[in-house]
């Protein structure tokens, strides 16, 4: 069990996170918030890069900072913009990281080909990473995060650069891995977590807004999400009064999905709210908030 206990983090006099209270057990957790909300700061504290200004982070009852390398031995981390050496091939790169992770040479020699196969890079094992596409680099990053068979897998924007097929493969992989470990997946792409996360954590105004199942989070918008068809010339006026969640053209007319809390009209078709609806609702601009 990983516990974040009343953690706050300030940079100078600027608070980034306040009184964060979280608990993680085995499963996938989607850390969902727009850019700049403090996701990466929270992750950096979970990976011991940053010290909390207040509070503590515990693993099985021990503070992770006092555990030191015992704790870091348990984590696999894929940073948002992770680095690599252009003149290294994936094998050299993973051998280097295996050394840093304290994995024996023999174990690394066995594990690296398996991981590269898992991320479909077995044919590129001798190619210089400087010549890799963004997706290939990201797959090497995923492989390195799993190199030490971590009990806590922390992934910051892991699907950036992956094509749809790779994303699906990656999600399936995470679902398999999460059976016996904690997987924390930080993203602002709702679809990344929608299908695999057991729980979603949303951060807003420096605090945890939700930590709940997708179903429970979506319930708060029950009866507030609607769809309507209208002519193009009506759309502009409609947008002024309602928070539009999505708009698509359909047979020469516009199909709009929106949120309304009052003055509900009979022609509106009530629909089941999704996580994306909640995300857009919670992180809307202040100006739009007034419309709702």
């Amino acid at each position: 069990m990983l516990t974040v206990n009343s953690v706050s983090k300030d940079f100078g006099n600027f608070p980034v996170l306040q009184d964060i209270q979280l608990e993680f057990s085995n499963g996938v957790y989607g850390l969902l918030a727009p850019n700049g909300a403090g996701k990466t700061t929270l992750i950096k504290m979970l990976t011991t890069l940053l010290f909390p200004t207040k509070g503590e982070i515990l693993y099985e009852g021990q503070t992770i900072f006092s555990m030191g390398e015992r704790y870091r031995d348990l984590i696999g981390y894929l940073p948002q913009n992770f680095g690599y050496y252009k003149n290294y091939n994936p094998n050299q790169y993973l051998q280097y990281l295996a050394a840093l992770k304290g994995i024996s040479k023999q174990a690394a020699n066995e594990k690296i080909p398996q991981l590269l196969k898992l991320v479909a890079l077995e044919d590129a094992i001798k190619k210089k990473m400087g010549k890799f596409s963004g997706g290939m680099i990201q797959r090497v990053g995923i492989a390195q995060a799993m190199l030490n068979d971590p009990k806590i897998l922390i992934l910051d924007e892991p699907t950036a650069g992956l094509d749809p097929k790779e994303r699906v493969r990656f999600r399936n992989l995470l679902s398999d891995l999460a059976r016996d470990r904690i997987v924390i997946l930080s993203t602002h792409i709702v679809s990344d977590v929608e299908s695999i996360a057991n729980e979603i954590i949303m951060i807003k105004d420096k605090r945890v807004l939700y930590k709940d199942s997708i179903q429970s989070i979506c319930q708060q918008l029950d009866g507030k999400v609607y769809e309507i068809e209208m002519d193009f010339d009506q759309v502009k006026a409609f947008r002024k009064n309602f928070l539009s969640l999505s708009e698509r053209q359909d047979n020469g007319r516009m199909n709009i999905r929106f949120i309304a809390e009052e003055n509900i009209r009979p022609e509106w078709k009530r629909v089941k709210p999704t996580l994306e609806d909640v995300f857009l609702y919670q992180y809307q601009d202040k100006e739009v908030e007034q419309k709702v």
Binding site: F51, G83, Y85, A99
Partner: protein, 387 residues
């Protein structure tokens, strides 16, 4: 150890190694090559060098009174040969010169006969008759030995301190001064080449070691490195990898350059004491070999200390311009200290304050160690910010 080895592999990447070779070729061509290709550097240096070899072969590494008499006898034989040469030469006959003594007197005149000057120039420089170079060289050596009690050591210090006076007398009275060691050109050549070798190695080490931290920072590796099991202890391992690499680079370059230096054929003087009547006074009674070993040791101290400074600077800088900005003044300062005879073998000459040398080396050794300990302690409790 695996982490240190991996870090060293990053330091010795092929592109950097290729540039290192090019830097060394350039430095050799500009600085070191001269002391190899022109040694002993014309005349009379060549004559002093050859006479030195002859003396060591004949008398061993020290000259006693009996051997000195023999050496003077050799001079007389040379003068006789010079007399015979002069007497067989028509141009000398036309000038009325029949002996080497007369030739020397005319040469020492304040206002010279232009015809004599022309002949002298022809004999000495155009034809390069060995006798006319060797005799003055031998006379210089004899003069140095005869007046050792009066002159030795004082040529370099106008007003010796009590300690300097005591040291000069000690070298003279113990007989250490009788060592056969042609300071000019052997010692001068060694001082010059050892300085240039040290500076070349310093440039090489700084070039190879400086990117040690900034390479990872620039490549966005910090996040992965500091969240691995190694974590913040990686700093210590990187320092070890940097120091070990600096040691390796220094050793390889020392072997290469001192092997090239060995082609100067100075082997017969290795066992000679450096406090010779033919040269200068040092504070310590070393042989030439010991002086070379000491200089090599000091080169290690300088390169390792500066490599630690480079590691520290690399760990605090965010770009290569900042690294150059920090390192350049330090490197220039060290070069100035080397060239003003404060750091390498010349630092042990009688006119160098040994207290100053000791203080300088203490600062050079202790400063980078303090910097790195401070950085390590700070990092232990500091956020790792890399974006």
């Amino acid at each position: 150890m695996r982490i240190i080895w991996q870090e060293m592999k990053k330091i010795f990447n092929p592109v950097m190694l290729l540039i290192l070779v090019l830097i060394n070729m350039l430095m050799y061509y500009i600085f070191i090559g001269f002391d190899i290709s022109v040694f002993p550097n014309g005349r009379p240096a060549t004559d002093h060098y050859h006479i030195g070899i002859e003396m060591v072969e004949k008398y061993g590494h020290e000259l006693d009174e009996k051997e000195f008499k023999d050496f003077k006898e050799v001079l007389q034989q040379e003068i006789k040969k010079a007399d015979e040469y002069i007497q067989s030469d028509k141009e000398f006959a036309e000038l009325g010169i029949t002996t080497y003594e007369e030739y020397r007197e005319m040469k020492n005149e304040v206002v010279r006969d232009p015809v004599f000057s022309q002949l002298d120039s022809k004999i000495v420089f155009d034809i390069g008759v060995d006798l006319f170079w060797e005799i003055p060289a031998r006379e210089d050596i004899i003069e140095d030995f005869e007046f050792v009690k009066e002159r030795y050591g004082y040529g370099y210090i106008e007003q010796p301190t009590e300690d300097q006076e005591r040291r000069i007398q000690e070298v003279v009275n113990t007989g250490a001064v009788n060592s056969i060691f042609p300071a000019y050109p052997v010692e001068d050549n060694f001082h010059s080449i050892s300085k240039n070798i040290t500076i070349t190695i310093l440039v090489s080490v700084l070039f190879m070691i400086s990117p040690i931290f900034i390479r990872d920072y620039k490549n966005n590796m910090i996040g992965l490195q500091y969240t691995s099991k190694a974590g913040r202890s990686l700093f210590k391992k990187k320092v070890a990898a940097g120091a070990l690499s600096a040691f390796l680079i220094t050793t390889i370059l020392l072997v290469v350059y001192y092997s090239i230096y060995a082609t100067n054929d100075i082997g017969m003087f290795l066992a000679s004491g450096i406090n010779s009547f033919m040269g200068t006074v040092y504070w310590y009674d070393f042989t030439f070999l010991q002086l070379i070993i000491l200089t090599i040791g000091l080169t290690y101290v300088l390169t390792l200390s500066l490599s630690l400074v480079a590691i520290y600077v690399s760990s605090i800088c965010k770009n290569y311009i900042a690294i150059i900005g920090f390192q350049l003044p330090i490197f220039v300062l060290v070069c100035v200290l080397i060239f003003n005879r404060s750091l390498l073998s010349e630092a042990f000459l009688i006119y160098s304050s040994q207290l100053k040398v000791a203080v300088l080396y203490c600062v050079i050794i202790i400063s980078p160690i303090i910097m790195l300990i401070w950085k390590k302690r700070r990092e232990k409790n500091q956020d790792i910010l890399f974006e």
